[in-house]
């Protein structure tokens, strides 16, 4: 990318900064209650008049059907599992998340990049390689991490259903008992999450408390959130995407001329 192009994207981002939406990620192991909190948070944002949309893990209409079929037949190696989820993530970032944010809609992500990092690292894939696969990374404005113990996660899941094959990590543990496998696998996943929470400064929510207490804490954090300009920390990712988008390339040219 030439210097002139980069300058164009910088100017476009500067113009959009004040009106752009915020990206809020909800992360945590299965059974941590993040989906409940995500729904309450979204409802609250709407009631405050904030335009908001949701993006869910593994939900790209282009890629999701591919993943679903392969999970059913249990044919995925850790690498194929990783690449398909990375493709799904990339497709949603490029076609849903970034366009929404630039048009002023906030995005609440029910699981984000860190889900992949925690799960794939728990499957034994090297962390530096995973970060590269998911690069360039669009860093969220805030990450809420719903912390529960492996026991709590296991009990909450067991109360409603049997964990699915990949959710239980049976491809890695080799255990036939889904619940036993889940406990082993989620312990590894939570260990990865705890490392990520420190490195990437998640806002950790004690998800063993009541739903209302958690929701109040999330609101408080959100209201105190300092908006950091994209130009300071996300410019490479956005420029990379803009440079490949004919639509936004025109938009940038219009702004310059």
């Amino acid at each position: 990318m030439g210097e002139r192009d980069l300058q164009r994207w910088r100017e476009l981002l500067k113009r959009r900064e004040a009106s752009r939406g915020l990206l809020v990620a909800f992360e945590g192991p299965d059974g941590s209650g993040k989906t409940t909190q995500r729904k309450l948070f979204k409802q609250w944002l709407k009631s405050e008049g904030v335009p908001v949309t949701t993006t869910k893990w593994n939900s790209s209409p282009l890629i999701k059907p591919l993943v679903k079929v392969r999970k059913q037949v249990r044919a995925l190696s850790p690498e194929e599992f990783c690449f398909l989820h990375a493709a799904d993530f990339r497709h949603r970032i490029e076609t849903e998340v970034l366009p929404a944010l630039l048009q002023g809609t906030s995005v609440v992500a029910d699981r984000y990049l860190f889900t992949a990092l925690a799960r794939d690292a728990a499957r034994g894939l090297p962390f530096d390689w995973l970060l590269n696969v998911y690069s360039p990374i669009l860093w969220p404005d805030v990450v809420f991490y719903f912390a529960v113990s492996p026991d709590t996660s296991g009990m909450r899941i067991a109360a409603t259903r049997e964990p699915k094959y990949y959710e239980a990590g049976q491809d890695i543990t080799g255990l036939d008992d889904a619940h036993a496998s889940y406990k082993q696998f989620i312990t590894r996943v939570i260990r990865e999450y705890q490392g990520l929470a420190l490195v990437f400064r998640f806002v950790t929510i004690d998800a063993e408390r009541s739903i209302n207490e958690q929701h109040r804490e999330i609101r408080e954090h959100y209201q105190q959130l300092q908006r950091r300009p994209w130009l300071d920390w996300n410019v490479e990712t956005i420029a990379d995407w803009l440079a490949h988008s004919a639509t936004w390339r025109l938009e940038a040219r219009r702004g310059v001329s």
């Binding site: 990318m1 282009l62 190696s77």
Partner: protein, 187 residues
């Protein structure tokens, strides 16, 4: 399962595109089978990912980066179910295409070389690598390969990429590999 005591087979990469790729793979496999019956070809989209990737008008198409990740997913499938088991059993495999075709297109489409190289770090280095010159898109749509798939996606999507330029740049990448001695021209 690997046959006890069997020597590991050879992994031969054939990269490029068009009808020449399939012909080269057949020629090489025939030669390999004279040495060891059972050697075979691992072809693009063995996992069916690209066949299933249905184009629905309302869904925006994949970008160069997404296509590269999907190629890597297909390759991970081929490595797990075709290439590694065959090599472990002492059989040789012609991977047509292997990693360089995907790298050539991704880099040609403007993706950072370092990112592309790192993505394919999981794939083992082939014992030998051939480059087949792509003579352009083939007429039969039913036999479209990855090069056509990639170029078509780039040309039709919101990608701001010139298909002719992309083909030229990907050929230049593979030709540079030849010059550096990292692969040979298949004749």
């Amino acid at each position: 399962m690997a046959a006890r005591g069997a020597a590991r087979g050879q992994l031969i990469a054939v990269d490029g595109g068009g009808a020449g790729l399939i012909a080269a793979a057949r020629t090489l496999t025939t030669a390999l089978r004279k040495e060891r019956e059972g050697s075979g070809v691992s072809a693009w989209d063995s996992s069916g990912i690209f066949t299933e990737l249905t184009a629905v008008e309302e869904i925006p198409g994949p970008s160069a980066r997404t296509l590269t990740l999907l190629y890597a997913a297909d390759l991970a499938f081929r490595l797990r179910w075709q290439i590694r088991p065959a090599l472990d059993a002492g059989l040789s495999v012609v991977a047509a295409p292997y990693v360089e075709t995907a790298k050539a297109l991704a880099i040609g489409a403007g993706l950072p070389r370092k990112w592309v190289q790192e993505v394919f770090r999981f794939a083992p280095k082939p014992d030998s690598c051939y480059h087949v010159v792509n003579r352009g898109p083939r007429g039969n749509a039913a036999k479209v390969d990855y090069v056509d798939c990639f170029v078509n996606a780039m040309a039709s999507g919101d990608q701001a990429i010139d298909a002719g330029q992309l083909r030229k740049q990907s050929v230049a990448y593979l030709t540079a590999l030849e010059k550096n001695g990292r692969c040979r021209r298949f004749k």
